[in-house]
């Protein structure tokens, strides 16, 4: 393979230049596991609390991980002590809080206001790593919205996000975001969500799998997933809107 070589596919083989082909004949299609609808909101809240407790002990100081316990706990983000946050967390905080407010209003009122562009834009492509922490957070958010049935909110968020991400982040991260917009993320992310929605709680295995993704990518995605799942639990507990 050399720069400029033609790439294409003939239905079963992906060709890269004249000499290399990758066949997917006989490959299975991966479908992410879909969480069962939690019948018991109290169980979901309990699972989130258990996970928050575990995360508190295990979360690294890198990326957006320090925000995860608060997002799982539904604690006000504004109260995050400024002196404890890294420059990245402090830069991300207003955008994450905005995202949280927007999703909360989408879930409770059912009305989908315009995405508050100016402050959310800051999260796109923000942070270290090949997939910047901010992008991972969006990935967790979109996967959780799709998996938990908040399709319209996911549609609106994705329609706002993807055109901007084209210019504000790099190609590989954009590809991840485009998959997440369809509800597809790393298997560990789906497994964590399923574990949270199961009656018997989130086992330590789910978290271990998430931790293994990238340097801090798993934790950054967990931030988005935690944000959505906690709001979802609050809505369910209040007997509120059905996402569908």
């Amino acid at each position: 393979v050399y720069p400029g070589a033609a790439a294409g596919h003939d239905g079963t083989v992906f060709h890269l230049g004249p000499n290399l082909g990758i066949s997917w004949a006989g490959a299975g299609v991966w479908r992410p596991t879909v969480p069962g609808r939690p019948n018991d909101p109290a169980a979901l809240v309990r699972n989130l609390d258990m996970l928050a407790d575990r995360v508190l002990r295990l979360a690294p100081a890198d990326g957006l991980a320090p925000l995860v316990p608060r997002l799982l706990d539904d604690a006000p983000l504004q109260a995050f002590r400024r002196k404890t946050g890294s420059a990245l967390v402090l830069a991300a905080l207003p955008a994450v809080a905005t995202l949280q407010r927007w999703i909360a209003s989408a879930m409770t009122s059912g009305s989908l206001s315009t995405v508050p562009a100016s402050s959310l834009e800051r999260l796109i492509g923000l942070g270290p790593g090949l997939t910047p922490s901010g992008d991972d957070c969006f990935i967790g958010t979109l996967v959780a919205l799709r998996s938990l049935g908040w399709q319209r909110a996911a549609d609106v968020l994705a329609a706002w996000l993807l055109p901007r991400a084209r210019h504000r982040t790099h190609t590989i991260s954009y590809a991840h975001l485009a998959c997440a917009a369809k509800g597809e993320g790393a298997a560990a992310l789906h497994d964590t969500l399923c574990a949270l929605c199961s009656p018997d709680g989130a086992g330590p295995g789910a978290l271990a799998a998430l931790e293994s993704i990238g340097h801090s990518s798993g934790w950054d995605a967990l931030a988005g997933l935690a944000l959505v799942t906690r709001l979802h639990a609050t809505v369910l507990s209040a007997g509120g809107n059905d996402p569908a």
């Binding site: 800051r122 492509g125 270290p128 790099h170 991260s173």
Partner: protein
């Protein structure tokens, strides 16, 4: 990110980070006052490496190193791409005459890869665990149909044609063939055989579930048959947990038909001697028995092979302050932990079914630190000693622990110098206890051979220098630990008056 972490660890570096040149990250740099004209030109596809150092010179040197590291990584990746096959088929193209595939992939994919290897006519060494039972049954059926070995799943160790696979000790080739359901069990027996001047012809792992009802001993029977007809194998050792009752009669028939001296070590199960088949209760006894029996020498089990030395050590320890607490076994080898539990259950009251108990305020516990509970999100304790170090230090602070019972497994695959951290932890725990007016004793055994890369003698010396009693085998070490907490056992174990 790894390069950034390496740079961060250098002296004089306050902070280092690697990120893509996205607008948000460029703003972040600007807000931190770290912006330069260069990074403001960066695009989202560019990598920015930012360093905050005590002096400009330190920063420049760090950036130069980072560039070097990235180049090296790229070169390594390119070399690996040309030299290392990524699939079974490309590996076979590179080595068309290979007849064995060693497979170590996550459990859920392992059966698929193993089946693929079998279908290409390869024997399989399946290191992976967490393979579903039904998959194991199908793999072994397929292997038998093709006359191939499927060693594992969860097969830690094997010796084939003088080559060790997985975690293994350096053992001379010899005349004893082993079939083992446990990796550390095989390592312990093979190392003991080497110490006795013997060697092994083959060591065939079969996986921990082979003698279960579901698998029905498929690979054990196949391996026994192969060793029975192998001319280089003069005697056979079988190492396993007790077979399922439904498999036992068939196993006994197979053993009778081998026609070679055979020693069966099914930890926790026993059976009367039958023809040339002898059942023993411990791993060291298996090696000792087969060494003697295949030469036609009589052999009877003894608590200690060298009772004189043990008696002397015991007497010397008894002259000093007695340990007040119970035994805490901290094991890296699962089978060694299981063997210790079985022995202690017999000798020391107060050892419950899960290896812990509490009688008259003294409790004894044996922990297998290789168990899932301790290895989640961290390497196996044979590779990373940290978990055991923490527990030993904790034991030093606890009045409940009087004797630490420890194993140390050497060989390929294990930590390069496992005794160093173990000795340091023992020393610190003993000192902590002493400062509190208590006494903690450490009893250890080492599985290893003179040929192992860690240097067996040096490893033993490090432990002894830290004050540990190093006893030749795990079974003897466990009995010695029992003696220390129940001196009246010397009547039985050392044939002396307490």
């Amino acid at each position: 990110m790894q390069v950034a972490a390496q740079i961060r660890a250098r002296p004089g570096i306050r902070q280092a980070a690697a990120f893509m040149g996205t607008p948000s990250n460029r703003d972040l740099l600007g807000e931190a006052g770290l912006s330069t004209p260069d990074d403001q030109r960066a695009r989202p596809e560019d990598l920015i490496l930012a360093v905050d150092a005590e002096t400009d010179a330190v920063a420049e040197a760090a950036l130069a190193t980072a560039r070097q590291l990235i180049l090296e990584r790229r070169r390594a990746a390119e070399t690996a791409a040309t030299a290392r096959p990524r699939t079974l088929d490309s590996a076979l193209r590179m080595m068309p005459r290979a007849n064995l595939a060693a497979i170590s992939v996550p459990g859920q994919h392992a059966a698929f890869e193993a089946m693929r290897a079998l279908k290409r006519g390869l024997h399989v060494f399946l290191f992976s665990d967490n393979v579903p039972l039904q998959d194991e049954i199908e793999l072994k059926r397929e292997a038998l149909r093709r006359g191939l070995f499927c060693m594992g799943p969860d097969c830690g160790t094997a010796y084939v044609n003088g080559t060790g696979i997985g975690f293994y000790n350096v053992i001379p080739r010899g005349r004893i063939g082993c079939v083992a359901a446990s990796g550390t069990g095989l390592q312990a027996v093979a190392s003991r055989l080497a110490a006795l001047g013997e060697g092994i012809s083959y060591g065939i792992g079969v996986g921990g579930r082979d003698l279960s009802e579901g698998v029905g001993g498929m690979m054990t029977f196949f391996a026994l048959e192969a060793l029975g007809s192998d001319p280089s194998t003069e005697a056979i050792v079988l190492i396993s947990k007790p077979p399922h009752p439904s498999v036992l009669p068939k196993l006994k028939t197979a053993l009778r038909g081998l026609g070679k001296p055979t020693v069966v070590c099914c930890l926790g199960a026993s059976s009367p001697e039958e023809g040339r088949v002898r059942w023993v209760g411990q791993l060291d006894a298996a090696a000792d028995a087969v060494t003697n029996l295949h030469c036609g020498r009589a052999w009877t089990p003894r608590p200690f092979n060298d009772p004189e030395t043990i008696r002397a050590r015991f007497a010397e320890i008894r002259r000093q302050q007695a340990p007040a607490g119970g035994i805490l076994g901290l094991f890296t080898g699962g089978t060694l932990a299981y063997e210790a539990q079985l022995i202690l259950k017999e000798l020391v009251h107060g050892l419950g079914p899960e290896g812990c108990g509490d009688v008259e305020g003294i409790s004894h516990r044996v922990l297998d630190l290789g168990d899932d509970e301790y290895t989640r999100s961290r390497p196996h304790p044979m590779i990373d000693p940290q978990i055991r170090t923490e527990l030993i230090l904790e034991a030093g602070r606890s009045p409940k622990v009087g004797v630490l019972l420890l194993d140390l497994v050497l060989g390929h695959g294990a930590h390069p110098d496992p005794a160093a951290s173990l000795a340091a932890a023992i020393r610190e725990a003993r000192a902590t206890a002493q400062a509190a007016g208590r006494r903690v004793l450490a009893v250890a055994s080492v599985v290893g051979t003179a040929g192992d890369p860690q240097n067996l003698q040096a490893q033993v010396r490090q432990l002894a220098d830290a004050g540990a009693e190093v006893i030749p085998t795990n079974a003897e070490a466990t009995r010695f630990a029992a003696l220390l907490v129940r001196p009246e056992l010397s009547h039985v174990l050392l044939e002396t008056r307490p």
